[in-house]
């Protein structure tokens, strides 16, 4: 009833006209935007470039379309080439970006590997900002000059080394991976990491397994201690920054960290941080593995054959595999921990058994163990899960050196 009263044919006519015209305009805008996506702008420009600089035939052969590298084996679709159009045309080495040819990267192949496997970014996106990964919640930004500058690196491609090493983690001293090589050298020279950390299935169990640390998502890192510092120095709040700060001073990032402080230079800390980021799980399709290397991958998981060992030989194997040799020598001098030569004569055998079995408990309760803990710069001995037989074997192995020296 009210409606009837309120109905005003003069006014409502204008409203109908207004809203339907508005709808019309919105639809026109939508159609225009649909017909003129960002990539088409680049393709038009590219076509003009071909016409002016190369040949009219090549320009007329060019078709507007979404272009992609479809790589089912890698589970990737890289549409970067919808704008980076000259990537496979060697006559365009001089062309301006994004139309320049991709430099020669043999034995790698852009056609077989795509773009994002090395460069990062969001392969299936079709807008520049999305594709370059400069959007929230896309965790693999493009590892180019822009990002390198944010971290204060001068070299434009330095961050790409992380992606190189994701596949090349078992290769040493590759050219172009200088930072990673430095990190790997630090790892093998100082060798202390595996006292506490497992890397590639080997090492102590005191701290996190680092084998695939690069896959650990950002939300599982605690940034509370370094957030202000990073914001102040205008460095990105990223896992890479976290690793860098953590290598520079572990306790400043994780206050109750047990990781010993090592005085690294900034370059060394960056190298190690980049190495950490590169350790990601990747399943490489066979076609990307050079023929001479195919046998090695996947790494053969040889189960330790049950050989008949003497107890001393068994002890030697345990001494090396359980990480004792990372810190202790037998007759080779003091390293991180004391030299163990003659230890079986020096100490009570029961004390020794307890010390090998559960050193962390001993360091808290036993006065002698406490004293040793102080003496060796508060670097604790990690507890390994050992059986009593294994402890006995290790002691027999250490004992065997006494006889030799006699």
């Amino acid at each position: 009833m009210n409606n009837k009263k309120n109905f005003n044919p003069d006014k409502d006519f204008y409203w109908l006209a207004f809203f339907s015209f508005l709808l019309f305009v919105v639809v026109i805008i939508a159609f225009y935007r649909e017909a003129n996506p960002e990539w088409k702008k680049y393709q038009r420009e590219f076509k003009n470039y071909l016409e002016e600089n190369i040949s009219p035939e090549s320009a007329s052969a060019f078709e507007f379309s979404v272009k992609q590298l479809w790589l089912p084996e890698l589970n990737k679709v890289d549409r970067c080439i919808s704008c980076h159009l000259g990537y496979d045309q060697p006559n365009l080495t001089e062309a301006p970006e994004p139309y320049a040819a991709h430099p020669d990267i043999l034995p790698h192949s852009v056609l077989k590997m795509g773009c994002t496997i090395c460069h990062g970014g969001q392969g299936f996106a079709l807008k520049k900002k999305d594709a370059h990964g400069e959007v929230e919640h896309w965790e693999e930004p493009m590892l180019g000059a822009k990002l390198a500058k944010k971290y204060g690196f001068e070299s434009e491609k330095i961050l790409m080394q992380m992606n190189c090493n994701t596949c090349h983690r078992r290769d040493e001293d590759l050219t172009g991976m200088e930072m990673i090589n430095l990190g790997k050298n630090l790892l093998t020279q100082k060798k202390k990491c595996q006292t506490c950390h497992i890397i590639d299935g080997k090492g102590g169990k005191l701290a996190a397994d680092l084998t695939f640390i690069g896959d650990k998502p950002a939300e599982r890192f605690d940034f509370s201690q370094i957030k202000d510092k990073l914001i102040e120095s205008e460095r990105p709040l990223s896992v890479l920054s976290w690793h860098f700060e953590h290598f520079m001073n572990p306790k400043a990032v994780v206050p109750d960290s047990k990781m010993p402080y090592v005085k690294y230079t900034e370059e060394e800390a960056w190298a190690l941080a980049m190495l950490m980021m590169s350790w990601r799980s990747v399943s490489l399709p066979v076609m990307l593995i050079p023929e001479e290397k195919r046998e090695e991958v996947p790494p053969p998981e040889k189960k330790l054959e049950k050989r008949k060992l003497s107890i001393v030989e068994w002890g030697k194997e345990l001494f090396e595999s359980k990480g004792c040799s990372e810190c202790h020598t037998i007759g080779g001098g003091v390293e991180v921990g004391p030299d163990l030569i003659g230890i079986t004569k020096l100490r009570d055998i029961q004390w020794l058994r307890k010390m090998i079995l559960d050193p962390e408990k001993m360091e808290q309760t036993d006065p002698l163990a406490k004293k040793l803990y102080q003496e060796y710069e508060e670097t604790g001995m990690p507890t390994e899960e050992l059986t009593l037989q294994e402890v006995e074997a290790i002691i027999k192995y250490i004992e065997s050196f006494n006889k030799e020296s006699n």
């Binding site: 003069d10 006519f13 204008y14 109908l16 006209a17 207004f18 809203f19 339907s20 015209f21 709808l23 019309f24 919105v26 639809v27 026109i28 939508a30 159609f31 649909e34 190369i54 090549s58 052969a61 379309s65 979404v66 992609q68 479809w70 089912p72 679709v77 549409r79 496979d88 045309q89 060697p90 006559n91 365009l92 056609l111």
Partner: protein, 154 residues
């Protein structure tokens, strides 16, 4: 004149504007909805692909298993024929002695030019056009077909 002028009242003008724009807008939306069913790009191998440099392709007939086609080379002339039988999409074998394509599934036989001679195959094997990419690779466009006298000369 005056009669005509009076006919186009404000109300009439806005009425026509409103009705035409809503009809055009709804039509355009319908077209957009239909267009949404046609994908711009698919998760599948491209219909245009590189098969290698011409100098690497041996003289005579070569089977390219990855692309399921036969490439013919006669000095500097090339042409490409699909190896997929037009009956039930088995891969046909080239029999050099008979100079024929033979389908192992149901015995269809095609001539060297891909013409279906006997068996259940209803159509000849399609021929694909070739071109040369700027990096020197031969390119086959399997979305297009050419007549069986096609030749690509370097």
């Amino acid at each position: 004149m005056k009669e005509n002028e009076r006919k186009i009242t404000r109300r009439f003008f806005f009425g026509v504007l409103g009705k035409t724009s809503i009809i055009v807008a709804l039509l355009a939306e319908a077209i957009g909805a239909i267009k949404a069913f046609i994908p711009k790009v698919l998760y599948e191998p491209p219909s245009k692909f590189k098969i290698g440099k011409p100098e690497d392709i041996p003289e005579g007939i070569t089977f390219l298993p990855q692309h399921r086609l036969y490439i013919f080379r006669n000095n500097d002339d090339f042409h490409a024929i699909s190896a997929v039988c037009t009956h039930l999409k088995c891969i046909v074998d080239w029999k050099p002695d008979q100079r024929e394509f033979y389908c192992p599934c149901h015995g269809s036989i095609f001539s060297q030019a891909g013409i279906n001679l006997t068996g259940p195959a209803p159509k000849p094997l399609p021929w694909y056009p070739l071109s040369l990419a700027p990096d020197g690779n031969l390119v086959i466009d399997s979305s297009k077909q050419v007549k069986p006298d096609y030749k690509y000369s370097l």
